[in-house]
């Protein structure tokens, strides 16, 4: 693919970002990270309180990239089959089976949103994780494929009652965990409350230009981005040092206030995690019109691709978010390149 085509796609990507930024205000960083994950073909865990605009954000992206959008709410009585089908009695009085959210859009499914994933049982997690890893599902004696699907799952870190913590192996399947927080700009906060255009979500999402990208071409183009953007030896060494630092931060002089660093990290980032980090960094380099990855590209995605993969001692789990933030910032400050 020529440089011109790379540039054309970049323009489309930036146009999509700009469209989404119009309807979801004050979320430039999460929007850039979601754009990155779309082009890196990685699943995303969204972290944030209720009512901060996660669903609107995803619907706006889905409209921009085209394809099917499906959503399911995580509840304690949700079973795996609820994702695949549901049964009902038809008008003819006979039982009927119809496709569940996973199958409803067929191969055109582009965004699957699992709201409050930590309220669902581990069996449901298992099914979803298989679908995420293999993008396929066996049901009704046949194999169903979702080649263009990206899963966005949401979890609320504040409420812990009646929830099932997502195990580290499951978290590792997500390319990124992106925090969505309420913007702290007074003007934006005021607009969100008083500007009536934000009150009708359907109308708001419809203002996003449709099909800015072609969802069914993203897989192919993602491969092109990954092969076009180089990573120098120095950059590889830097990434490896970052990886080692996530495993033994103390070796790099990284400390977190009020934490015994010898006991903190049970497991650092996984090989899959670091590979996903590099995929995302390459996309970030491409979005910034670079032909090679710089340390700054890694920094842009480091926290969102690594923080949720770290396994801490249980005693520190309750403070995971702040500890991970401080530790990863310390790693960036401690590891030099070149």
């Amino acid at each position: 693919m020529s440089d011109r085509q790379l540039a054309d796609w970049r323009n489309h990507a930036l146009n999509l970002e700009s469209e989404v930024n119009k309807v979801v205000v004050g979320q430039q960083t999460p929007i850039r990270l979601i754009t990155t994950s779309i082009f890196a073909r990685g699943h995303v865990l969204l972290e944030g309180d209720v009512g901060v605009g996660k669903t609107t954000l995803l619907r706006a992206f889905t409209r921009g990239i085209g394809g099917g959008y499906q959503r399911i709410e995580g509840t304690i009585d949700l079973m795996p089959n609820d994702l695949v089908y549901h049964t009902y009695l038809g008008e003819d009085g006979k039982p009927h089976v119809s496709a569940g959210p996973l199958l409803m859009s067929g191969e055109n499914l582009s965004v699957f949103f699992f709201n409050e994933i930590n309220r669902a049982r581990p069996q449901v997690h298992s099914l979803l994780l298989r679908v995420m890893a293999e993008r396929s599902l066996s049901a009704f004696n046949s194999e169903h494929y979702f080649p263009h699907m990206i899963v966005f799952a949401d979890r609320n870190q504040v409420e812990k009652e009646e929830t099932f913590e997502i195990p580290s192996a499951a978290r590792d399947r997500f390319m990124m965990e992106i925090p969505i927080v309420v913007p702290n700009d007074d003007a934006i906060m005021e607009a969100l409350v008083f500007d009536t255009k934000f009150h009708n979500v359907d109308a708001l999402v419809n203002t996003v230009q449709a099909d800015v990208l072609q969802f069914d071409q993203l897989n192919a183009f993602s491969g092109v981005v990954q092969s076009s953007v180089e990573a120098s030896e120095t950059l590889k060494k830097y990434a490896l040092n970052l990886w080692k630092a996530t495993k033994s931060p103390l070796d790099y002089g990284v400390k977190v206030s009020g934490v015994d660093m010898n006991r903190l990290v049970l497991s650092g980032a996984s090989p899959r995690g670091m590979s996903m980090m590099l995929r995302a960094a390459r996309v970030n380099a491409w979005l910034n019109e670079r032909t090679a990855v710089l340390p700054e590209d890694i920094h842009a995605v480091f926290h969102s691709t690594v923080a949720h993969r770290l396994v801490f001692s249980p005693v520190y789990e309750m403070r995971r978010t702040e500890i991970a933030r401080e530790m990863l910032a310390g790693i960036i400050n401690a590891v030099a390149a070149p």
Binding site: E230, S232, T234, L235, R290, T291, A292, V293, L294, P295, E296, H299, I332, N333, A334, V335, A336, A337, P338
Partner: protein, 332 residues
């Protein structure tokens, strides 16, 4: 009633009689034996030029060995007019105070005497403070009373105004040293000038110096600047140079500095603020050398020379100096 008055009169006479009997003229007593009293005095530095109204102070320290002891009532009396050959000399003891320290084998008296001049003359005349006589008693033999003489101090009393035409050389007191011109002002100016020159020289050496013998001289950029001059003018040399400058930036910031946290670095190290634009140029060079060979940098055709001058200007910032502009540094 008359009887009573007579009785009171007799009682008064009996009480006063012993005191009058002990009134002794010090000068008639024998001198204290040698070695019993040692004396030290603190006299005024100036012994001439006194005139009416001046107060002159002396401090006398006496150490009196046992068994002799000073009869404190024999200390000079304030207000007593000094006489010489029966004539009032116009010097009066204005105040006297003393402190006493007793030891097992001796006692020490510190006596402060202040004399006031009440005389004057049309020409300079000699005068003396003292002498003063003190009485001592042998504590083992109350009949053994002796005197001790505090030597006098010669001074010269000067007229308030010169009377008639005086040739000053003939009138100079031998007690006064030669008149000297004051060179205090010139000495002070000389010392300030030497100090200023020394500081200037140190400043010059600090700016031009290569070695760490003053505070902040051995900074990381000073070392890097020296090291850059020794690197070969090859691509490998350029890589090493960029790496060394990176290390210096990191060391200065105490964290890894990248193009996306230069603002934070400058906020922490405001000395480097004049280098903000050049630091960005440095990162464009680093990007080309280490990460993206296809990218372009804007540091010119001789990146190693540019790096050297960049490191020098960073060294100036490190030392708290204002860095030269790139043109000054390259001598243009």
């Amino acid at each position: 009633m008359k009887k009573l008055i007579r009785l009171v009169y007799i009682a008064l006479l009996v009480n006063l009689a012993p005191q009058t009997a002990f009134a002794i003229d010090s000068q008639n007593l024998p001198d204290v034996p040698d070695g019993i009293v040692s004396i030290s005095t603190i006299d005024p530095v100036r012994l001439v030029g006194y005139t009416v109204g001046d107060i002159i102070e002396r401090e006398v320290t006496l150490t009196i060995k046992a068994p002799y002891k000073l009869i404190e009532t024999s200390l000079p009396i304030t207000g007593y007019e000094k006489r010489y050959k029966g004539q009032v000399i116009g010097i009066e003891l204005k105040s006297v105070s003393h402190t006493k320290k007793e030891n097992k084998n001796s006692s020490t008296f510190n006596i402060k005497l202040a004399y006031q001049i009440f005389t004057n003359n049309v020409v300079a005349k000699n005068a003396a403070l003292g002498p003063e006589y003190l009485n001592l008693i042998n504590t083992k033999n109350s009949q053994d009373l002796v005197k001790y003489r505090i030597p006098s101090l010669d001074i010269a009393i000067s007229p308030i105004a010169i009377f008639g035409q005086v040739k000053i050389e003939n009138n100079m007191s031998p007690l006064r040293g030669p008149l000297l011109l004051s060179n205090v002002k010139e000495n002070k100016a000389l010392k300030i000038s030497i100090g200023f020159l020394a500081i200037s020289l140190l400043g010059l050496l600090y700016i031009l110096g290569q070695h760490a013998w003053l505070p902040r001289m051995g900074g990381t950029f000073a070392k890097t600047y020296r090291a850059l001059g020794k690197l070969p003018a090859t691509h490998e040399g350029l890589k090493q140079a960029v790496s060394k400058v990176h290390a210096s930036l990191n060391s200065s910031a105490n964290m890894s500095v990248f193009s996306n946290n230069v603002t934070l670095f400058i906020a922490q190290k405001p000395n480097f603020a004049p280098m903000a634009d050049e630091i960005k140029l440095f990162f464009s060079l680093s990007r080309q050398v280490y990460f993206e060979p296809n990218s372009a940098h804007q540091v010119g055709n001789n990146p190693q020379q540019w790096l050297k001058s960049f490191a020098r200007r960073c060294r100036d910032c490190e030392r708290g100096l204002t860095p030269e502009t790139p043109n000054q540094a390259s001598g243009k």
